[in-house]
Symmetry: C2
Subunit: 330 residues, 2 copies
């Protein structure tokens, strides 16, 4: 089968299309004929050599796909060959075929295109898991979301305004993205290049701060995040793109009863991902099916242009997801 | 009424017995004739001038009492003058009379002495709140508790081994207290003066680490605590006696999905304390009433020896609580 392979680790130049063996589903798994996949930050990290897949998992990039079930492993029930599905995969999404666990499959609603379906799993599940399942975000609370037009952030804004319409949503964005983030439903958009987001958040919340922050920058934002966080606020840490080591003021954190919660999706167990998927299907999928929430697509490129797709994400000029079309035949 | 007053802030020399006006209960409050109170770390901090009571609260030391209800404010039901009660107070415990909120009252079981009753609220509620209500400690999990013979730590060991008997409990203690902590039920006691507790915890958990840590040392222990914490482990931070600023490795915390949770009891709202008290009465009080859990008393001194009592706590040579007897007439 066709797949994206790596000539070592490094820049986009290491990405090439090659041929590899088609994988066979193990117990509890299905094989998916991949129609679309999408580019996520973990793919960049992996291409650069800063992530190694766990033993037994595919070393091919790609953490989510949409397509049709092509073969069933033993012990799989509740789905059949030909079903249109989208799902998280441990790796291997940038290929014509990929293995997935049956309990991670999400049926693709009739109303959703395969390009949109490639944009659902990594970003919406990440946002839903952290803000709602872990962060217990409640209607009427306030959230600060970093990341302007990124996939997780745009999904997070949509989820907050849909699942908790009385919430107040603050977003940090670069100047060129402020208007589009507002159109997405954010209540306050802070231009982080010219404004101090902690000060702005305090100003708009009468000094109270926000109840939840979803952060992927780590060290760079830690002090400002803690300053922007309300009493009993939760900081969900899902990335360390701005460095990993920072000084923390434990006394303030204690007195304000704040929480810092480290969270990643990829390394969770198959069982945990199954539970998260089930909660997602129950709560979020109906909102995608009736198009209350529509995934934002920045661009769709053929798999052969994977290097351009990576360069596009690394430029950070995108708004919404970058989709790779793997196959057009069903 | 008789009360402990402060001649400025500082060492034990600032403590003196004096006379002040007897307080009157406001709506929702009762006045308690105090029989016993006890010495807690927050009393030391307040005496040293490092804590200021919120507006409207008593400036007299003392955060928990046992005694009898002496007068009811308006709107109080469910209790009556003469009832034997123990409770948290916002301050004012080192006095003949103190005000308390009716929803913070805990009936003193017949089987419990007034000296024991003075030892229940601050330490057992702190341990219960953090380990169980916030930390969601589950039977079969493992906990690391710091603080040897201190009030919160001894209560925490008893609660873990009583409410979650299949749990594994690690405690750090000074050499002179190791045996007594073992007798209390701890599974592993680590002499922190000669052993690296993170290494010891890893050794006894096959490298896994513990699921929950209750820490009052803050900065001094942060790096070791994070190293001793398992995947999805929770660090409950209830004090910063070892400093407040420390470097945190956010990348490790994220990958291991760990949580740091700041928590204080005293500054919580009257309503929150009421909810916590109700949960405590339901889950822990029966274990105190049937003497499965017996509060540990190090010494009982008359209120007039409050300076000696404070010196005793500051020596850190005590094991269990230091009780002050305020009145012997009922």
């Amino acid at each position: 089968m066709k797949a994206v392979l790596l000539d070592g680790f490094g820049g986009t130049g290491v990405l090439r299309i090659g041929e590899v063996e088609r994988p066979s589903p193990a117990q509890g798994q299905v094989r998916i004929k991949v129609m679309t996949t999408s580019v996520n930050r973990p793919d960049i990290v992996q291409r650069q050599g800063n992530y190694r897949q766990p033993p037994g998992e595919s070393e091919i990039l790609g953490v989510e796909v949409a397509g049709t079930i092509d073969a069933l492993g033993s012990g799989v029930s509740g789905c059949k060959v030909g079903d249109r599905v989208m799902c998280l995969v441990a790796g291997g999404g940038y290929a014509e075929y990929v293995l997935a666990y049956a309990n991670h499959l999400i049926p693709i609603p009739q109303s959703m295109s395969l390009e949109e379906a490639a944009c659902v799993c990594e970003t919406y599940i990440t946002a839903f898991l952290n803000i709602f399942l872990i962060g217990n975000f409640a209607n009427g609370e306030s959230a600060l979301l970093h990341g302007g037009g990124g996939g997780v952030n745009t999904a997070a804004v949509q989820l907050c305004k849909t699942l908790t319409p009385a919430s107040q949503v603050f977003v940090t964005a670069s100047p060129g993205k402020v208007e589009r983030v507002k159109q997405l439903g954010a209540d306050f958009v802070i231009d982080y290049t010219s404004q101090d987001f902690a000060q702005e958040v305090k100003r708009f919340t009468d000094g109270k701060g926000v109840d939840l922050i979803l952060d992927h920058l780590g060290a760079k934002y830690l002090a400002s995040n803690m300053a922007a966080l309300a009493v009993e606020g939760r900081l969900l840490l899902i990335g360390v793109m701005g460095g990993s080591k920072a000084e923390l003021n434990l006394a303030l954190m204690m007195v304000k009863r704040q929480r810092i919660i480290g969270s990643v999706l990829r390394s969770r167990s198959v069982e945990q991902k199954g539970q998260i998927t089930a909660a997602f299907i129950k709560t979020v999928l109906p909102k995608l099916a009736d198009r209350t929430i529509v995934p934002l697509i920045h661009a769709v490129l053929p798999l052969e242009q994977v290097a351009q797709a990576h360069a596009m994400m690394e430029s950070s000029k995108h708004f919404g997801k970058i989709v790779l079309r793997v196959s057009t035949s069903k």
